[in-house]
Structures are given as C-alpha cells and as structure tokens.
C-alpha cells in the first residue's frame, strides 16, 4: 500500500498538523519509504495469533473510587498559553 498527496492531506488534517502544498509530495515520499519498509510483515502468517496487548502479563489493578486530589485549578492553568482566571481560552468555536 502507498499513500498519495491527497491521503497525506487527509491524515495531516486528522492529526491537526498544518501542511503546505509544497510539503505534500516530499512527505508522501517519506511516508511511503516507511510503509514499504513495514510491508515485510505481510509475509508472516498471523491467522492463529492473538495480538499482544500488554508487555508483561498482569491484571490491571483496581482502586477505590475516591477523590485523591483537587482544589488546584491555579496549578492546572499555570502553564496555559492564555487563560482567564481558571478557564482556558480559545478562539470562538460556536458561531
């Protein structure tokens, strides 16, 4: 499988990464190099193999459903590029 410039534009949109027209062709080429590299996996018969879902067999632990922190809204907005009091701000999203 390989990607064309139309597909690159689509996945860049899905990933919310702006891409200029002149970057589409070189990016398609780079992605195809990698996709071609991973194609060798197609030759492996994996019909009866269950996908690996965790690196080390372990039961996911459960914890008590209780509040363990909070009252730190100022901390949470501290690194925001723009905020009003304890609210993050963005350009208007509703017309």
């Amino acid at each position: 499988m390989s990607v064309d410039t139309k597909t690159v534009r689509k996945i860049a949109r899905l990933a919310r990464i702006g891409i200029k027209d002149e970057e589409l062709e070189p990016m398609a080429k780079e992605l195809n190099t990698i996709l071609h590299f991973v194609e060798q996996l197609d030759a492996i018969d994996t019909r009866d193999v269950a996908p690996m879902t965790s690196a080390v067999e372990a039961k996911l632990p459960q914890r008590a459903d209780v509040v363990t922190d909070g009252e730190c809204a100022q901390d949470i907005v501290k690194n925001a590029p723009d905020h009003l009091d304890t609210f993050f701000t963005v350009p208007k999203v509703v017309e």
């Binding site: 499988m1 990933a15 996996l41 690196a55 690194n79 925001a80």
Partner: protein, 492 residues
C-alpha cells in the same frame, strides 16, 4: 577538585560516608565540569543553585549519621522527566517554557533517597531518534572522537545528553528512557552502562509519553555497580501508573560478584547480520569467551522473528505516539500559534511546534490507525509482537540470558544518517526486540574499535531478572577491564 568527577558513584558514596570530602565539594566539582563542557550541549537547563542547596542539606544529614542511599550524589535528569518548578521540554519547541507543578515518580524516588540534580539533559525531540540530532535545542556532541580526528560524532539517542554527560564525567549517573533502544544504544556509543528495565519495573508517571506500551525509564552510569545502585532507587510500584508492577525491589548491588558458574547464556543466531562488521563480530566472540571462562555454558538459540521487530516497532511506536501527542494542542500548556479559528490554531501550533521527525511519526501513526487500515497495520504488528515475545519465551526455556552486540556499529558522524530514516532506524536492530517483548536489557562497554571508539555488548533477560543481567554484566565489565575515557578536548 577535578579528581572528584573521576570517581564512580559507588566511590563517591563511600567517600562521603567516610567524610573524605563533603557533598558540597562533590557538587562544586561537578558544577564546574558541567560549565566547562557546554560545547557538548548535553544540558538544556543547568540547576547549580539547587544542587548546592541540596548538597548543604546532605552534608548536614551525613554529619548527623542520617545519610540515605544516594545522599549527596549529583545526577543528570533526561528532560523527558517532569521536574517540579524546573522547565521540562522533551527537547521540543512545543513545550518550551513548560514548568511542571509536579514531580515524576522516578525522580521523586531519587530525591527521596538523597540524590540531587545538576540539570536537565538534552535528548531527541520526544525521544524520537537514535542520534540526538532531532532536538529543538541542537544536537549533543559525543565526548568521544575518532583517533586523530576532530569530526563531531553523535552520542546516540534518544538519551544522548544523558550518555554524553555520564561519559564526560559531568555527573555520576543519569536517568534515561528506552522505547526502542534509547538507553542502550547511546550507552554503547559513549562507553558507559545502560539498563532498560522490565516493562512495569519503574513508574512511567510524570514522564512525557512517547509509546506507552514500550516506554521504560532506567539508569545510565559509568559502571555496572553504579547502575545497580541507581536502579534500586528508581524501581518500585507506583499506584499512579496502572502498568507499574507491585513486587519487591531487590538490592541489585548484592547480585554483583556472584558466580555465574553453570549459568546458561544463549547466542541468538539471527543477530549475526549479513554485512556485520568484523569488529562487532570479534567483540561478540570475545564476550562469549569471557562468559565461558567464568563458567557459563554457551548455547546457540534461535529467535526467528528478529528481522520483523523493527517493522513492527515502526507501526506500534508511531501509532501510540500519534495518540499520546494529541494533547499538545496549544490550549492547556506549551506554545501556541494563533489562528482564525480553533482548527487553524491547532494546525499552526502543531506544524510549528513539532520538528520534522515528530511530524513524520505522528502522520504515520495517524495513517496506520485510520479507518480501514487498523487491521492491516496496527493489529498485524501487535500479532507479530506476540510472535517475538514467544521467541524469547521459548529461548528462556533453555537459557538464563542472551548475549548480543548492543549496536551494529560504533558512533557515527553528525549528519551521516539524518537524511535516511530507515538507515537511522537500523541502529536499533539489536535493541528493539527487547522493548516489544517487555524484557530487561543491559548494555555494557566491552572494548574499543580500530578508531578508538567504544563498543558495547547487550545482555537480555527474563522479565524481572535484572539481577541476572547485572551479575553477568559485572563479569563482562571485569574481564574487559574497560577503563578508557574520552580525551577532555572540550576543556581546551
């Protein structure tokens, strides 16, 4: 006090307790070394005041006989670990200025045990790279040079700043993280020891995430003993990381010096690559001979899916990265580039904030997870991953550990591989299998090549058998008698 930067971590610890010198002396010597080595570009942020304040506190504790296991030991921290009130960037423009209000669990463990921080160490952007050339803060320079040459070499990556700083004697040890070889490959390129622990042995909480099912923090130091000492403090269960494993942390140092008589060490025949250099081949044979002499039994084993590990990795890691890096949106933290609407704000922020390699991996990851392709790529890769893990399980039915080269070559020159992603990815051919299977791997320096550059061997073990690796690594270290250090050309 230049002599204090030549000590191993264990010697420094013992010297502090014997009051041969103070923690303040030790930190001052390292702060001076860090300042004199800025040409290496190993540090993104230096924190000398903090180190000196901590050293004063450590001196007080030592005087009172209340020294903790790492009391007064100055360390470098890879800038992927969140450190409270100290800028944490993952070497990306998108996180420039980010100052966490919390501390990663692994670094918190180190401070709990009395260590202090000299600063935050450079790395490949978001730990994506094998040469430390993708950092937004510029590349790190390997302290090592080829004989009679001043060509700048890469220190490996992604933990390149950590490797360079430890190798150059700027700190007694450092933290690294390893997703596909990011501790072991730079350790091998700089002649130091690096341990990638079993997945779940160290908490990932507070470490900037790259590929969550592969990422693992681990120690980097100049000797196997120093690595064992750091490992004991870094490891441990953390309720804040649901994948961290709740089992006791051994005293890893006690594993050193034990006999390896009768242990079975496997040599995976698939690691003998066609076109492998004679020097790597010779180093590997030498390693086998050392372990044999120490009483180990050498067994040839087969790991048939070895060649499929890198392709599987380059599906799984970008897929998980594309998901993890979705959080950098210019809204809650990090840099923002304004746009007419919210979508343009996201797109501009991420186009400008991420470097080329990170953008490439996010796009590949987004593609392999997108509708219609998930089964063909991600699911397929996760199945291949199961086969790779099965290979190891079969081998570990016959042997206690595996011995392989750590890297296919010695350190290469800057710019040599940066135009060809696949050539760069091949650096991790011996290390990446271990991450996919979640196993521990140790890189140990074992010799120099004809150009005078360090080469390393890798030991791979069963899950949670880091002690076995350290025990074998100690034997290799002693047999190799690796004492070479880089010339301090940066002081000239």
């Amino acid at each position: 006090m230049a002599g204090l930067t030549d000590l191993t971590l264990a010697q420094a610890r013992d010297g502090l307790l014997a009051k041969d010198f103070s923690a303040t002396d030790l930190v001052k010597a390292h702060v001076e070394a860090v300042e004199a080595a800025r040409a290496l570009n190993a540090f993104i942020v230096e924190t000398p005041q903090r180190a000196l304040a901590d050293a004063a506190a450590s001196d007080a504790r030592i005087a009172k006989g209340e020294a903790r296991p790492l009391e007064g030991i100055p360390l470098g921290i890879k800038d992927l670990f969140c450190t409270k009130d100290v800028q944490t960037t993952a070497a990306s423009n998108i996180l420039k200025g980010f100052t966490p209000v919390y501390e990663s669990s692994v670094t918190a463990n180190l401070w709990r045990d009395g260590a202090t921080m000299l600063g935050k160490l450079n790395l490949d952007e978001f730990a994506m790279g094998s040469s430390n050339e993708t950092s937004a803060f510029g590349p790190v320079v390997n302290p090592w040079r080829r004989k009679g040459s001043d060509v700048k070499l890469v220190p490996g990556g992604s933990s390149g700043g950590s490797a360079a700083a430890v190798s150059a004697g700027l700190c007694l040890g450092a933290t690294g993280t390893d997703t596909g070889g990011s501790i072991r490959q730079p350790a091998a390129f700089t002649g130091i020891v690096g341990l990638k622990p079993t997945y779940g042995r160290c908490s990932r909480w507070g470490i900037v995430a790259f590929a969550s099912s592969l990422d693992q923090a681990g120690p980097m130091a100049r000797t196997v003993r120093d690595t064992a000492i750091l490992m004991r403090s870094m490891a441990g269960h953390d309720p804040k990381d649901s994948t961290s494993i709740d089992r006791p942390v051994p005293d890893y140092e006690k594993a050193l010096g034990q006999s390896i008589k009768g242990m079975r060490v496997g040599i995976p025949k698939e690691y003998r690559l066609s076109g492998m250099s004679d020097e790597i081949e010779a180093l590997w044979s030498q390693g086998i001979a050392w372990l044999k002499e120490a009483g180990a039994e050498i067994v040839e084993v087969s790991l048939p899916y070895t060649k499929d590990a890198l392709p599987a990795y380059y599906i799984v890691a970008p897929a998980e990265a594309s998901s993890n890096l979705a959080r950098y949106d210019g809204v809650r933290f990090g840099q923002r580039v304004a746009g007419r609407d919210i979508t343009e704000l996201y797109e501009k922020t991420r186009a400008e904030g991420f470097g080329a390699e990170v953008r490439r991996r996010i796009l590949i990851g987004t593609y392999v997870l997108s509708a219609g392709y998930y089964d063909a790529y991600y699911l397929k890769a996760q199945k291949v991953r199961a086969l790779i893990a099965q290979d190891f399980a079969t081998a570990f039915g016959k042997v206690d550990a595996l011995l392989t080269p750590a890297t296919p070559s010695a350190a290469f020159a800057m710019g040599e591989k940066s135009d060809d992603p696949i050539a760069m990815y091949l650096n991790d051919v011996f290390t990446v299998t271990v991450n996919l299977a979640g196993l521990p791997g140790l890189a140990v320096p074992a010799g120099l090549d004809a150009q005078g550059l360090p080469l390393g061997l890798q030991l791979i073990g069963r899950a949670f058998e880091e002690e076995t690796l350290l025990k074998l690594g100690d034997v290799i270290e002693k047999a190799a008698g690796f004492t070479a250090k880089p010339q301090q050309w940066w002081r000239a």
